[in-house]
């Protein structure tokens, strides 16, 4: 069984998003390891981009800080390889299409495989453009994880059937979850920026897991390099809520 499927075995999965390179790449490495130790089942590592049009303002600002520090894809792959030596949980890269395209699609996915990255989330690659990545992702065993929003109701079947790994729905919507699950046997998780305890419980009541998209980024913005303890505490707290 691959790492992604295993993450959903026997429990509701807790997924957290960490913006790479904020406040610096060393701190990101510590944060990801700490997140795994604290009970995160999957970590999304955000590749900073100059113009993240589909990201929250918190993530935009984190990306700006990371880029100002000179964060690059090579640093992120090196970091992932080092993290992979310490943790078993799946690691996902969330990146816009341009960094992949400019790095080279084959080179990018090859590096993912080498450094133990299990999947990618590409917010600006819709179903119609999936051919850009299908072949290279398959070749290197990197899952293409989609985000399905309510606005795309008529597209749900098409996108869900094409998904790999798991599916993220960026809202608490029982009907949507049910619909997605009707089309795909894959785990479905609810993605929320910074859920309350109640929202977290509701998310795992209707779905297979919860993806926390901005809460860690906010803690890092607040505490910088000293955020590891706070992040650990936060994840432990959320983990207890989900069980």
């Amino acid at each position: 069984m691959n790492r992604l499927a295993k993450a959903f075995e026997k429990k509701k999965a807790l997924i957290v998003f960490v913006a790479a390179g904020d406040p610096n790449i060393e701190a990101t490495q510590k944060l990801v390891v700490a997140a795994a130790q604290a009970g995160a089942d999957i970590v999304q590592i955000g590749v900073p981009f100059s113009d993240p049009v589909a990201s929250s303002p918190e993530v935009q600002q984190a990306d700006q800080r990371a880029l100002a520090k000179g964060c690059t894809l090579d640093q992120i792959f090196d970091m992932a390889a080092q993290i992979r030596e310490k943790v078993e949980i799946p690691l996902i890269l969330k990146t816009y299409m341009n960094p992949i395209f400019v790095y080279g699609k084959t080179r990018f996915m090859g590096k993912c495989k080498l450094s133990g990255i299990d999947g990618v989330i590409v917010p600006d690659l819709p179903f119609e453009e999936r051919e850009e990545l299908v072949t290279v992702c398959t070749l290197h065993g990197v899952a293409r994880i989609p985000v399905i929003a309510q606005a795309a109701m008529d597209r749900i079947g098409m996108v869900a059937k094409d998904a790999e790994g798991f599916i993220i729905m960026p809202m608490l919507d029982a009907a949507l979850t049910k619909l997605v699950k009707a089309f795909s046997p894959l785990p479905c998780v609810v993605g929320l920026d910074a859920p309350t305890a109640e929202q977290a419980r509701e998310a795992v009541a209707i779905a297979d897991g919860l993806s926390i998209e901005s809460a860690i980024v906010r803690l890092v913005a607040l505490y910088g390099a000293n955020s590891v303890g706070h992040v650990k505490e936060y994840i432990e707290k959320m983990r207890k809520i989900l069980i």
Binding site: F49, S50, D51, N98, F101, Y103, E128, E131, A149, A151
Partner: protein
């Protein structure tokens, strides 16, 4: 592989899933109304009686004689209502939005010409209008901000990133995702995801269709060269499109070199950029080795954009059009030159095209013809020129 909305390998629809439904709806509506007799009649009526088309093709006798080479004609898009070619696209898109039952339009703007045109069309057709403009540009073009407000539009300064046109596009895309049901995004150039580059080009191609019939009437032959400035590229594709199949007509796009194409402060996408994926399209972009979009500079807000329309990227790759870089200083000089020589105040954007024509014309024969697309009027740029020259005009 799906080749929807591609120009060679460029174009496509690189946007979040959540926008795709809207893009399909827009494409279907456009393809329907494009051939609808009522829509065509209404648009033609607006172009003629509201925008003032056809715009003149003017023989620039003094400029021709002063340069001593090719005969120079100016396509006077500056004479359109609202002062630029932007009105052509905006009337088409706002009329389409209205037919689609939308009650609100949003737009990005750089220099403010597209924002003013959109606010104008929205006022005319009774739609709500919100314009997003980089904070830096609201300062450079304060008069246009006030103009848009007079026309009833909301103007939202954008403070993210470099606070210019690229960031205004980012914010308008974000706004669209949050409110798609009643809102149409009037993209101002031949950029963004399909169907925008194709649709905007079709609304702008009237420029080259008019040039062709006007020059045939005046000279009995096609021009040798058509020159237009290129930011996103809508006035250029409009001026080129009907000549693409006429191999004898050289098509030249003048982009902004800012302080110089070899300095960090430029917006010369074709000269310095490499292929990438941004703002919904695959095209050329000014970016670093890691695929981060780099800040651009041009004295002209309308050319201060790190990308270019995918059809231009394709025309460059197949060598059908040529793209040259013109600096701030050369553009300002050409601006003043046209003021003195012909009594026409061109937009700073269009001045880039004038600047290259000044270099090219003397190298050509007297029986050859250059058409320069004067995409807009320069009244909005008078304060910028004064600032560039260090003149205090008490604005």
């Amino acid at each position: 592989m799906s080749k929807t909305g591609r120009f060679g390998e460029y174009g496509g629809q690189f946007v979040p899933e959540a926008l795709m439904g809207n893009l399909h709806q827009l494409e279907a509506a456009y393809l329907h109304y494009r051939d609808d007799a009522d829509f065509k009649r209404e648009l033609l009526d607006l172009m003629k009686n509201f925008a003032g088309r056809p715009s003149l093709l003017y023989y620039a006798k003094a400029m021709t004689e002063a340069l001593g080479g090719a005969k120079i004609y100016l396509k006077r898009e500056d004479l359109n209502h609202t002062g630029s070619h932007k009105i052509n696209n905006v009337l088409g898109q706002v009329l389409l939005a209205k037919k689609m039952g939308k009650t609100r339009v949003i737009a990005e703007t750089g220099a403010g010409q597209h924002g003013v045109a959109t606010a104008t069309a929205a006022a005319l057709m009774g739609l709500e209008c919100d314009v997003f403009m980089g904070k830096e540009d609201t300062r450079r073009q304060a008069l246009n901000v006030f103009r848009m407000k007079l026309l009833g539009a909301g103007v939202h300064p954008v403070t993210s990133g470099t606070m210019t046109l690229k960031d205004a596009v980012n914010e308008t895309l974000r706004e669209w995702v949050t409110r798609m049901d009643d809102t149409h995004y009037v993209i101002g150039s031949v950029v963004g995801p399909h169907p925008f580059p194709m649709m905007v080009r079709n609304f702008q191609k009237v420029i080259s269709e008019e040039i062709k019939s006007q020059i045939l009437e005046a000279e009995g032959r096609l021009p040798d060269v058509v020159i237009a400035c290129v930011g996103g590229g809508s006035n250029a594709i409009g001026a080129f499109y009907d000549f693409i199949d006429d191999a004898s007509v050289r098509l030249i796009g003048a982009e902004a070199a800012g302080h110089g194409a070899d300095t960090p402060k430029n917006a010369a996408t074709m000269t310095n950029g490499v292929p990438g994926v941004f703002h919904g399209m695959k095209s050329y972009f000014c970016q670093d080795a890691n695929g981060q979009i780099t800040p651009t500079h041009s004295i002209s807000a309308g050319l201060d954009y790190p990308g270019v329309g995918p059809e231009h990227a394709h025309l460059k790759d197949i060598d059908r059009a040529q793209y040259v870089a013109v600096s701030d200083a050369e553009a300002v000089e050409a601006f003043e030159y046209l003021c003195h020589t012909e009594g026409i105040i061109p937009a700073l954007e269009s001045s880039h095209a004038v600047a290259y024509a000044r270099k090219l014309a003397p190298t050509m024969d007297k029986n050859q013809i250059i058409v320069i697309n004067i995409s807009g009027r320069g009244d909005k740029d008078v304060a910028s020129i004064a600032r560039f020259k260090g003149v205090d005009i008490n604005e």
